[in-house]
């Protein structure tokens, strides 16, 4: 079975899709040198400067141009370098890409992948560290994907490129070098969660890098006799309610853990949905665990205070189970 890094998994898929479909092309800053994180390395040589278009620093024009090129039937993959920078292009993403199909009465589609590397990456500070996935889940017309493993980055990117909808594809910067088994290159459907670890006492729902913190927490809880079930949502829109409900019906307890700010985070949506649907089956209050509502600090000790760590997740699980 192949072992790949998270970055290489995406690159393998992208190259494969570009070979398969000449309408797939990439547009973004720093692509000419293989991407700011090396996630496009080798692609400029293989596909040339038109299909791997090295763009000026012009996020709005990049995304707007991609919308135009997508509406005319090509399949652009846009690189924004950092989710933070993509905010310069939010108008084109939210007002144009997400709305075109609806406001034009279904006459067009916008098959577009917007890669927005997200998350804390040691001391990257307030403008290069944010996790803004919940913003996009609020926007009808967008698909939101947050892969946690190399296998998922391979399969979900494939589905994203083949999707006819605009997909906000958020890879976690801290995961680029993560190695993992990639059994196949099959597309992974949107809206199907992954049970990262099975358990019976408490459900921990998460996505992106926090899935690994949750799994680590579950391992340490197991040594205390608490079996936590870890669910990796993989995609936040659409999200797999059925898998979450099934797990919480079994455990009666839910923690939603994510790196982004807790206030208004997608954890609130998951928590409210579960509390509403399974009120009578809960053994404890539904809990959320996210970053405090503070800009991300530069100094490592401060930055660490914002992190949702395995210890914090385990502590919360322990409290819930003891209630």
């Amino acid at each position: 079975m192949a072992v790949m890094t998270y970055a290489d998994a995406a690159k393998t898929t992208l190259a494969e899709e570009m070979r398969r479909d000449p309408l797939v092309w990439c547009l973004g800053e720093d692509l000419g040198r293989g991407g700011v994180f090396g996630q496009y390395k080798g692609l400029p040589e293989e596909f040339g400067p038109q299909r791997i278009s090295d763009a000026p620093i012009s996020e709005a024009a990049i995304l707007g141009a991609a919308v135009g090129a997508a509406m005319t039937g090509t399949r652009p993959v846009v690189e924004m370098r950092f989710a933070d920078f993509a905010l310069c292009a939010v108008d084109e993403l939210v007002n144009q890409a997400a709305k075109a199909r609806y406001m034009f009465g279904g006459q067009t589609k916008v098959p577009l992948v917007v890669r927005e590397p997200m998350g804390m990456w040691r001391s990257s500070a307030a403008q290069h560290s944010q996790s803004l996935e919940s913003w996009y889940t609020h926007i009808p017309g967008l698909v939101v994907v947050c892969p946690a493993t190399p296998h998922d980055n391979r399969g979900l990117l494939k589905t994203a490129i083949r999707s006819d909808d605009p997909v906000v594809y958020m890879e976690h910067k801290n995961l680029w070098a993560l190695e993992g088994e990639v059994p196949d290159g099959d597309p992974i459907p949107f809206g199907v969660a992954r049970i990262a670890r099975a358990g019976t006492d408490v459900t921990i729902v998460s996505w992106s890098a926090t899935v690994h913190a949750a799994t680590e927490a579950a391992e340490s809880l197991a040594s205390e006799g608490i079996e936590a079930e870890v669910i990796d949502l993989r995609t936040l829109w659409p999200w797999d309610k059925r898998a979450v409900f099934a797990s919480v019906e079994k455990t009666g307890r839910l923690i939603v853990a994510h790196e982004s700010v807790q206030v208004g985070g997608f954890g609130a949506e998951v928590a409210a949905t579960v509390a509403d649907a399974l009120f009578g089956k809960l053994k404890a209050p539904v809990k959320r665990l996210g970053s405090p509502r503070v800009p991300i600090a530069y100094a490592p000790p401060l930055e660490d205070m914002l992190r949702v760590t395995p210890a914090k997740i385990a502590e919360m699980a322990r409290t819930l189970v003891q209630q």
């Binding site: 990049i62 991609a66 135009g68 108008d91 007002n95 006459q107 067009t108 909808d165």
Partner: protein, 371 residues
């Protein structure tokens, strides 16, 4: 296209055919018609062209401009009657710009614009019925009543919207140009923007990108003198909007946007430039809108005298009508055209009131393709 098959917009189609025929075989005459004006510095002039289109083609332009004028007048009426809501930006006064540009392009060239878009859609050959029914929010509208005045689209007619954020369509038009080049076609992207949009940052990102990659994009700045209520003199620095691409090496010209023939001549030159692979081109159309920015704007920021002077001395339709009479086109023929258009617009307005409102289930459709 749903709900719009086989409907009566024959007049528009004929006009379109005439315009197309005219671009293929212009009659050669020698009188100079271009009213393009040289802008300062390195931007170049659209030199007076020697080509005067045939009478048939001229009647076609007249017809298309009058369709837009009457359509917009009717839309204004329906708005006043409460049948159209929200924002509604009328194109009255600016008709020569889109009609002249459409006469300069061919099959497969694409058009994108912002929200003053009814004229662009009609000039692209979209049906008056479908556009009007969208204004009234009915299922027979181009967007099934879900888009309204600012948001219509037709893949078939190569019209890519219909966008409501000032300047946001400019990168999209740049992307359309990218696609034309990517697909190795010689098609061009007509990307319209107003004098208000020229101060948006993404316009310059687009200029740079289009120039850098030599994309076939004609940026058509419709300078109607007012960005909502702000005169261009108060909002835009520099002597000429046509020069706004100077730093990127994009040639630009000022054009008399009240003359369909001047627009067509300038458009043909820009199209030739783009098709030759020389990159983008900027045309600043000096035009004028007779109505307020939108229906709710009483336009108190300008004088009645200014408006009346434009209407009396520079009206694009009256101007062309005069040319037609000089060319010996019979008044009866023009009256017949007027009547046909009246019928077309009445039919569109009737359709727009009879077409049902969208079913509540439509609220949930067309959000995502896959999910």
């Amino acid at each position: 296209m749903r709900n719009r098959t086989g409907r009566a917009t024959r007049q528009m189609t004929q006009g379109e055919t005439m315009a197309r025929a005219a671009t293929k075989s212009p009659s050669r005459a020698s009188s100079a018609t271009s009213a393009t004006k040289r802008s300062t510095r390195s931007t170049k002039t659209a030199k007076a062209t020697a080509d005067v289109p045939s009478n048939e083609a001229l009647v076609g332009y007249y017809k298309q401009m009058l369709v837009i004028r009457r359509f917009e007048e009717k839309a204004g009426q329906l708005y006043g009657m409460g049948l159209i809501g929200g924002f509604c930006h009328l194109y009255i006064g600016q008709e020569a710009v889109v009609v002249g540009m459409q006469a300069a392009i061919g099959e497969g060239d694409t058009v994108v614009t912002s929200y003053r878009d009814h004229g662009h859609m009609l000039a692209c050959g979209m049906e008056a019925r479908g556009v009007m029914a969208e204004l009234t929010g009915r299922i027979g509208g181009y967007s099934k009543g879900k888009g309204g005045s600012m948001h219509m689209f037709s893949r078939e007619k190569n019209f890519f919207g219909g966008h409501g954020i000032v300047g946001a369509q400019v990168p999209i038009g740049t992307g359309l140009g990218f696609r034309h080049k990517y697909q190795k076609t010689d098609r061009v992207s007509l990307t319209y923007l107003g004098d208000g949009a020229v101060n948006q940052g993404q316009v310059y990102e687009s200029f740079n990108m289009a120039a850098l990659w030599k994309l076939p994009v004609i940026f058509i700045i419709e300078n109607n003198k007012y960005g909502m209520g702000t005169s261009v003199q108060r909002a835009a620095a520099g002597p000429s909007l046509a020069e706004r691409g100077h730093a990127y090496g994009i040639p630009g010209e000022e054009v008399d946007g009240m003359s369909v023939l001047a627009v067509k001549a300038a458009g043909e030159k820009a199209v030739k430039h783009c098709r030759a692979g020389k990159g983008p081109f900027i045309l600043e159309m000096k035009t004028y809108r007779y109505r307020g920015h939108s229906m709710s704007d009483p336009a108190k920021y300008r004088t009645k005298e200014e408006l009346n002077k434009m209407r009396q001395e520079h009206d694009p339709i009256d101007n062309l009508r005069r040319v037609l009479m000089e060319q010996g086109v019979a008044e009866d023929a023009l009256k017949k055209v007027d009547r046909e258009i009246k019928d077309l617009i009445t039919d569109a307005a009737d359709f727009a009131q009879q077409s049902p409102e969208p079913d509540p289930s439509e609220l949930w459709t067309d959000i995502l393709v896959d999910a």
